[in-house]
């Protein structure tokens, strides 16, 4: 969790640095009265690097992904809940109660 977080912060800071250098580049172009067609090459590389780092951090920081298939090994339904609203009490446990001698103390 710690390393993913640091990588995420690094990725965001690289993106911020790329944005700042693009703004500076535009300022430079305005002085030189040239057209702004593409940001310079190093900014593009920086952007791609920042993208990769941020995506990696976003996938690892939140934790384990859970399966969404309803028929996967973890998600498949094994049994229905007992119908507790219709529960009846005259079953065979009436004769078995010898071992359970408990009291509620107050």
């Amino acid at each position: 969790m710690g390393s993913g977080f640091i990588v995420g912060v690094l990725g965001v800071s690289i993106l911020a640095h790329a944005a700042y250098s693009t703004v500076q580049y535009r300022g430079l172009l305005k002085i030189m009265e040239d057209e702004f067609s593409n940001p310079p090459m190093n900014v593009v590389i920086e952007l791609l690097l920042g993208l990769v780092l941020c995506m990696w951090a976003a996938l690892t920081v939140p934790g384990k992904f859970l399966s969404i298939h309803p028929d996967s090994e973890e998600n498949r339904m094994v049994s229905l809940p007992g119908n507790l609203d219709f529960m009846i009490f005259n079953h065979r446990a009436k004769v078995f109660r010898s071992e359970i001698d408990m009291k509620l103390k107050l």
Binding site: M77, F89, K94, M102, L104
Partner: protein, 301 residues
């Protein structure tokens, strides 16, 4: 709906709590959430928490739900004095509560005093005529007395008002199956599948009822529903795999005399048989021989 992870978690917690590790409160919460019926364990571990004043105060306001849960578990284990004490504590805390009134009615049921319980529920119903739990307890009284026609009548009346209650539909289907009224049970299961199509166990129960009804059309439909169960459980439901093999052999037997137009391909049966053998090899290799001989007799008959 108990999924496989939840089941393993429940078993693990149960083992842990039974062998003296902590985590009793977690276990009780999980049992309450999954709505499983484990009265002896709930009673034992619930009382161990409730009898300890330190643990009781650690729970805060959740202690009252624990009292309710333990009282119902006590009634299930027939420790009626424990149940009575819990209800007394709850009454002291919440004097005019209808939830506690319901619990008292359930205690009368557990004691076997059906007439008094019926009277208690009717008086509670006068104040709240639309309380679903009270209606359901009346059905449970009729069921406990063995009076199935009355139970069916009450349940049908309840379902006219509360048509979306799938627990009640399930209960009605089970009562019909126990009375062997399979066509009505099939109707109830169809309602359940309509409202919750992704629950494979309803498909399985419906297929079972269809297979029991018999007749080529019903068995063909049963085979389709067994197949949909296998689809929804990822192939892990052994009962559905057996169902497919039995349906295919039953269809083959029933249509023996008819002309040999090509039915559905026999792949489904062979695939199901192969899946069953793989499963048995993994989980119960001692019985594999029994299984293969049974499957062979199904195919040839």
């Amino acid at each position: 709906m108990v999924t496989k992870t939840e089941e393993t978690q429940l078993n693990r917690l149960e083992n842990q709590v039974d062998n003296g590790g902590g985590g009793a409160w977690e276990y009780l919460c999980l049992v309450k959430k999954l709505k499983v019926r484990r009265p002896d364990k709930v009673l034992r571990h619930g009382l161990s928490i409730l009898n300890d004043p330190k643990k009781r105060s650690a729970l805060g306001p959740d202690v009252w739900t624990l009292y309710e849960q333990v009282s119902i578990a006590a009634m299930d284990c027939q420790c009626l004095d424990v149940a009575k004490d819990c209800i007394k504590v709850l009454q002291k805390q919440f004097p005019e509560s209808k939830r506690v009134g319901r619990l008292e009615g359930i205690l009368l049921e557990a004691k076997g005093l059906w007439a008094e319980a019926e009277k208690a529920y009717s008086s509670l119903l006068e104040d709240n005529p639309l309380d679903p739990v009270l209606h359901k307890r009346r059905v449970a009284i009729a069921k406990a007395q063995g009076n199935f026609p009355t139970a069916i009548e009450w349940l049908n009346k309840y379902l006219e008002t509360f048509m979306a209650d799938h627990d009640a539909w399930r209960e009605l289907a089970e009562i019909y199956v126990s009375l062997q009224m399979y066509k009505q049970a099939a109707f109830c299961y169809e309602e359940l599948i309509l409202s919750q199509p992704t629950v494979p166990l309803y498909h399985l129960a419906y297929a079972d009822v269809l297979y029991t009804l018999g007749g080529v059309d019903n068995i063909l439909l049963a085979k389709k529903y067994y197949a949909s169960t296998i689809d929804l459980t990822g192939g892990k439901n052994t009962k559905a795999l057996f169902g497919i093999c039995l349906c295919s052999s039953a269809i083959a037997q029933l249509t023996k005399g008819r002309n040999k137009e090509d039915k559905e391909s026999p792949e489904l049966q062979s695939l199901a048989a192969a899946a069953l053998e793989k499963d048995y090899k993994q989980r119960a290799p001692a019985k594999l021989l029994l299984l293969t001989s049974a499957l062979k007799s199904l195919k040839t008959s």
